[in-house]
């Protein structure tokens, strides 16, 4: 360790590993009720994680949730950007993951054709 600068750089790099223990950041929530799992929620989540990883995004947090009663629209995925309303997408397929991450997570643009609800 030769300088404070070097330490700071290292710290920033390392923080991406522990970042999910801090409460801020972007949240992606996948419906993992029996209905969601039957409709392929695991595969959707895996595809979303793959996209996030591929693009090297730090600070994206994945959570799962239970059935919210819109079973026919499963797989449901919520995306919450800090300070923005919660956007719920329905009938999400693994092939939609790229668009959701590129357009919404990165650029903040709602993917209109998949949206089923919006709430604060």
């Amino acid at each position: 360790m030769k300088s404070l600068e070097e330490l700071k750089k290292l710290r920033e790099k390392l923080q991406s590993d522990t970042k999910l223990r801090a409460a801020d950041g972007i949240k992606v929530i996948v419906g993992m009720g029996t209905c969601g799992i039957a409709a392929g929620a695991r595969e959707v989540m895996a595809a979303l994680m793959e996209e996030v990883k591929k693009r090297g995004l730090a600070g994206v947090v994945f959570q799962q949730t239970g059935c919210i009663g819109m079973c026919e629209k499963e797989v449901l995925v919520d995306i919450i950007l800090p300070g923005a309303p919660r956007i719920t997408y329905g009938n999400v397929r693994p092939s939609d993951a790229g668009r959701l991450v590129a357009e919404h997570v990165i650029n903040g643009q709602i993917v209109k054709d998949l949206v089923v609800a919006k709430s604060v």
Binding site: R11, D17, M49, E50
Partner: protein
């Protein structure tokens, strides 16, 4: 593909390990792999969270859900329900004992709400075996700042300004101590960390070393820079194998990253750190005895001066501080002395870690700001007395400290108020006692400890503590004599004034403070041959309560005629005659006779 979306933090402190956290962690790793989640969920072993009563503890991120008393059998459900489906498992959440409300997150629990965690901020939240997690949490920034932006004098000045006082017991101002060592002439100097932690019931230092070893190491290196030392020793008792193991790992990692070794941060400053395992003698926590022990000699105190700052390890100027003292340094350097000094009272700055034990609901570790009251610690954080019993006293400061009674519960905690009350901050052990505790017996317990740990070098301590213990033993056996209290006080005064080291000088404190606040208990033992708490087996007398209707059954059954009273009036037991056979208790139809006085 590996994308880690969840961290499961399993407590690997000594408390949780002994309640089975190792099995929980192993089971968890297997189950996660079995469900094919090992590419997205990471299991992290952390240090102590402090809430040992509820162990094994687990936190799952990103939700930050806090599970308590987790058993190996719970693992499949945790993986299936929480990690796979994202549902919180209600029955594993902590329930507040009074409201019975279950509480999902850490910060909402009363035990943590009143705490102010600086020293323990990483404990339970990072993996102590991973220097990277310490760095990610801001670690070694203080060292970098000190070495590249500050002069040794400025570092010392900053510590002085913070008002930090030694956490090892006596509360000597740390910055002043560093300055003495800095100004002491000599090429070779040493930094020593006192991790002997000999007080019965104390485990603060152990938890810091196990949960966040780098914080202590960083403090020591900064001290080395400030006083001009290039070598340090951590003196840690061999009974702390986990702490030693984590320290060894931490030192090796710090060496590899260049925080220890040559030319740290390119500043030209060198520092090497060693561990010395002690054999667990209480007296080896005393600084001069400790230094002798590091040198390979028998650990016995010597008179001061010269103080270690002038002549310490191998005769060289040495600065010795406690584990927790060193653990404060990084935040003083990073945030500045002024910010640090905002916490606490005028003469006692910062926080203090206490080990809560005894008859208290939430045993564990609590870090609180100085100036908090004893009541807040015991009731708000500690959750009150076990089984709803009545509080009687709290022992603070270990064998050198004292017992405080109920009417002192609102005493604010700082070095000076505790000393004025006849107790002492000490290292931070808090033993809570309820109505069933006999205060003479407590004094005897601590004196038994100091007497057997006395090194025998000076007569007042060697002989005096033995004589005091003899007197306490005979009082608790029911053979106390007229004049014993005066004799105890006389001996106590003599030992305090003439013993060579702190061990002897403070050994009488538990006796003096119980005499001050619970004198009537001594008198009851000696004069009435009764132990009011009903704890001393030779003296567990019986008392007749207000429920007595004066039926006379007890009087009839008593084989020695120890009960007096007229029919239809409340009866009384003559304690001097009573042989404590208990016959009356079984006979009373109104349950008006109970053990104790």
């Amino acid at each position: 593909m590996q994308f880690i979306r969840a961290h499961v933090l399993v407590c690997g402190g000594t408390g949780c390990m002994s309640s089975g956290s190792r099995q929980v962690q192993a089971g968890l790793e297997d189950e996660i792999a079995r469900r094919g989640l090992d590419n997205e969920v990471k299991v992290v072993q952390t240090g102590c969270h402090g809430f040992c009563e509820m162990g094994p503890l687990m936190i799952i991120y990103p939700e930050g859900v806090f599970y308590v008393s987790v058993k190996a059998e719970d693992v499949p459900e945790i993986v299936e329900t929480h990690l796979y489906k994202g549902r919180i498992i209600e029955r594993l959440l902590y329930r507040e004992p009074l409201s019975q409300k279950s509480i999902p997150s850490y910060d909402e629990i009363n035990f943590y709400k009143k705490q102010r965690r600086i020293i323990l901020s990483n404990c339970g939240h990072i993996n102590p075996d991973e220097i990277n997690e310490y760095i990610a949490a801001g670690g070694y920034e203080a060292l970098g700042k000190a070495l590249t932006l500050m002069t040794p004098a400025a570092v010392t000045e900053e510590v002085k300004k913070s008002g930090l006082r030694g956490r090892g017991g006596a509360g000597f101002p740390t910055g002043m101590k560093w300055q003495f060592a800095r100004q002491s002439p000599g090429e070779k100097k040493y930094v020593v960390c006192n991790a002997d932690e000999g007080d019965p019931g104390a485990f603060m230092d152990r938890s810091v070393l196990e949960g966040d070893p780098h914080r202590v190491i960083e403090g020591m290196i900064i001290c080395g820079y400030a006083i001009g030392a290039d070598e340090g020793y951590i003196y840690v008792r061999a009974e702390y194998p986990l702490a030693i193991k984590r320290l060894r790992t931490a030192i090796a990692q710090a060496e590899e990253m260049g925080f220890l070794g040559k030319d740290v941060f390119g500043s030209g400053f060198n520092f090497a750190l060693h561990i010395k395992e002690g054999a667990g003698a209480f007296v080896c926590g005393e600084e001069t005895a400790l230094l002798q022990s590091i040198e390979g000699r028998r650990g016995m105190p010597r008179p001061r001066p010269p103080f270690p700052a002038v002549s310490g390890l191998w005769g060289k100027p040495t600065n010795i501080n406690n584990v927790e003292t060193f653990a404060n340094i990084a935040s003083i350097i990073v945030d500045g002395a002024e910010k640090y000094a905002e916490i606490g009272t005028e003469k006692s700055k910062g926080t203090k870690v206490f080990a809560l034990t005894g008859k208290i609901n939430n045993t564990g570790l609590a870090e609180v700001p100085m100036g908090i009251t004893m009541r807040e610690i015991i009731y708000d954080i500690g959750g009150g007395i076990v089984d709803g019993k009545k509080f009687k006293a709290v022992q603070i400061g270990g064998p050198s400290g004292g017992c405080l009674p109920e009417d002192m519960l609102d005493l604010t905690i700082d070095y000076d108020s505790l000393t004025a009350a006849g107790a002492m901050m000490g290292s931070g052990g808090l033993v809570v006692m309820d109505e069933t505790t006999c205060m003479v017996d407590v004094a005897k317990f601590f004196l038994t400890f100091t007497q057997s740990e006395s090194c025998g070098k000076c007569t007042p301590c060697r002989e005096g503590t033995k004589r005091m213990l003899e007197i306490l033993t005979r009082i608790t056996n029911g053979e106390g004599r007229e004049g014993d209290i005066a004799l105890l006080e006389d001996l106590a005064r003599g030992i305090k004034q003439t013993a060579l080291c702190g061990l002897g000088q403070t050994a009488p404190n538990p006796v003096l403070s119980t005499l001050k606040y619970f004198r009537h208990e001594y008198e009851a033992h000696i004069k009435d041959h009764v132990c009011p708490a009903g704890a001393c087996s030779n003296l567990t007398g019986y008392t007749i309560t207000d429920d007595c209707r004066g039926c006379g059954m007890c009087k009839k059954v008593c084989p020695v005629g120890a009960i007096a009273g007229e029919i239809k009036e409340r009866h009384v037991i003559k304690h001097k005659v009573c042989i404590k056979c208990g016959a009356c208790e079984g006979k009373c139809p109104f349950k008006a006779i109970r053990k104790g006085a």
